[in-house]
């Protein structure tokens, strides 16, 4: 029983990790919490849904699932580019204070959610089931296939991101710009390109997360508000730290699954927010302990 809950928790945590890392990427580079990420996830969940309904006539099962994920990921990436252009580029060019970024990101999130309500109504939709709800047995353990695939694809997306960040030129530019924008410019890095690339990466992760959220919770316009879980994970792990976001997200997933078993689904969010508050009060820099450096 217990190891199985652990596996469920890790699977859920890996989706939270997609959200939290997408969040942390933007936080790192622009030093603000991008709440429009929630709206973006809602939109990508619908993009994935439309893709899989249309393509469901031609392909099935695993290929359909992969195509759905890719469509949502690309859609998310492109949408994030639009969001950056519309909501943040002018603010950056005029060196606006952080409060404007907040307002702009919340506005953008609301705009996206309500656009969905207009075009797709506020009805609930549900993804077709890609796989028979069967389980794989490893000795005494049984793992549900959807959980396993959620974990595998989320982990794959995160590994790709880490490779890009740590092994490519644009990744180096993203990390340098996160540390110090002006000095990165003096290295010949184009801030507009770097920020756009960061938003694209964040949007791709948001897109993959959107599909998994849609599968787990059914589709509705406010689906993206589960961004809050990503935010909680970021706080626990340490805002602005990629590794912290990963650790925080997996921990959050596991704790949440255990809490649902222990106190029920109603009380579990309450306990989780209490945990977050305790972190904010006692250890605001989170588990990873990176203090976000002031831009000098």
């Amino acid at each position: 029983m217990t190891p199985q809950l652990l596996i469920n928790g890790i699977s859920l945590g890996s989706v939270y990790a997609l959200i939290a890392v997408g969040f942390a990427l933007i936080f790192n580079i622009l030093k603000f919490s991008n709440f429009s990420h929630g709206g973006l996830m809602s939109v990508t969940a619908y993009i994935g849904y439309v893709a899989c309904v249309f393509l469901g006539h031609y392909i099935k099962d695993l290929p359909l699932f992969v195509v759905t994920l890719v469509a949502a990921a690309l859609g998310g990436g492109l949408l994030a580019l639009v969001v950056e252009r519309v909501a943040f580029r002018r603010l950056r060019n005029s060196n606006s204070s952080v409060i404007y970024y907040f307002i702009s990101s919340i506005t953008m999130g609301i705009l996206m959610e309500n656009s969905i309500t207009i075009f797709a109504s506020s009805n609930f939709y549900s993804y077709p089931s890609f796989f028979p709800a069967s389980v794989i047995r490893f000795g005494a353990l049984s793992v549900a296939i959807p959980d396993l695939l959620t974990f595998l694809f989320s982990a794959a997306a995160l590994v790709i991101l880490l490779v890009v960040l740590f092994r490519t030129k644009i990744g180096l530019a993203i990390r340098s710009t996160s540390f110090d924008t002006s000095t990165a410019k003096l290295m010949g890095m184009d801030p507009n390109r770097v920020v756009a690339a960061t938003f694209f990466a964040s949007g791709v992760l948001g897109g993959v997360a959107g599909v998994f959220l849609g599968i787990n919770y059914t589709l509705y316009p406010q689906l993206g508000q589960l961004i809050v879980k990503g935010f909680v994970a970021s706080v626990i792990g340490g805002l602005g730290s990629i590794s912290g976001a990963l650790i925080g997200a997996v921990l959050l997933g596991v704790v949440e699954i255990f809490l649902i078993g222990l106190v029920g689904a109603g009380w579990s969010p309450v306990v989780i927010f209490v945990i977050m508050l305790v972190f904010l009060l006692l250890r605001p820099r989170g588990i990873s302990g990176v203090i976000v450096q002031e831009k000098a």
Partner: protein, 235 residues
């Protein structure tokens, strides 16, 4: 190589530079000395387009400079900023790679990293260490090497001796001399006026945003007014 004409820069109502004109000939070291707040850093940042000028022109090899910092770097003007500003959480090697960001070929990048390791061998031993763990002097050397990675034609150094002990300061100035020997033109902004004047071909003295004096480095070293104001000697 670089010529600045009648440059005015203001931060809101405060004038930082008022009508600066100067010439930087190829292959030389030009020093700019002056006290805190004289406008030295502002001048360098304006050349690099981190700050926009109110009026005046900056020409590099006869052409007016772009308004975008990253494009200026591609033309061959690289600034090593005041206070070193190494990327503390990146490794030494990654800092050098960041410096070589404008290079097109991966092979050149590797070759240049090797050159920097030869120039300052401590960097080779520490290449996988986070740059923030280096000492102040090592960070300064890394910052200069990071600047050289882009193969600049013109290197702008902002207070490279700031906050460093005398031995490492000598090392920094030796490195600057070697940079000139490689044919790279240098603009050196310094508070350590004595060393800067001794090293440079030509110097400008900046006071309250204006050029107060100019001349050959050695001439200025002997000038009574300079001695009194910047070299701390009573005449």
């Amino acid at each position: 190589m670089l010529s600045i004409e009648n440059l005015h820069v203001a931060y809101g109502p405060v004038h930082a530079l008022e009508g600066i004109s100067l010439e930087v000939p190829r292959g030389q070291i030009i020093s700019i000395i002056g006290s805190n707040g004289a406008g030295k850093t502002t001048l360098l940042n304006t050349i690099c387009a981190l700050i926009r000028q109110k009026s005046g022109t900056i020409k590099f090899e006869g052409r007016e400079l772009s308004r975008f910092t990253h494009q200026i770097v591609k033309l061959g003007i690289v600034q090593v900023p005041e206070g070193r500003k190494v990327f503390a959480g990146l490794t030494v090697r990654e800092n050098l790679m960041a410096g070589g960001y404008v290079l097109k070929e991966a092979l050149r990048l590797q070759q240049n990293i090797e050159k920097m390791f030869d120039l300052y061998p401590i960097l080779r031993d520490r290449q996988n260490q986070q740059a923030g763990t280096l000492s102040g002097g090592e960070q300064q050397m890394l910052a200069i090497c990071r600047g050289l990675m882009a193969e600049p034609k013109l290197l702008l150094l902002d207070e490279p001796s700031l906050g460093l002990g005398p031995i490492i300061v000598n090392g920094v100035f030796q490195l600057i001399r070697r940079i000139r020997e490689q044919g790279i033109t240098v603009v050196l902004v310094e508070q350590n006026a004595r060393k800067a004047l001794a090293l440079c071909n030509y110097a400008y003295v900046l006071e309250n945003g204006k050029i107060a004096m100019r001349g050959q480095g050695r001439e200025l070293l002997c000038d009574a007014a300079i001695k009194k104001a910047y070299l701390g000697e009573c005449s």
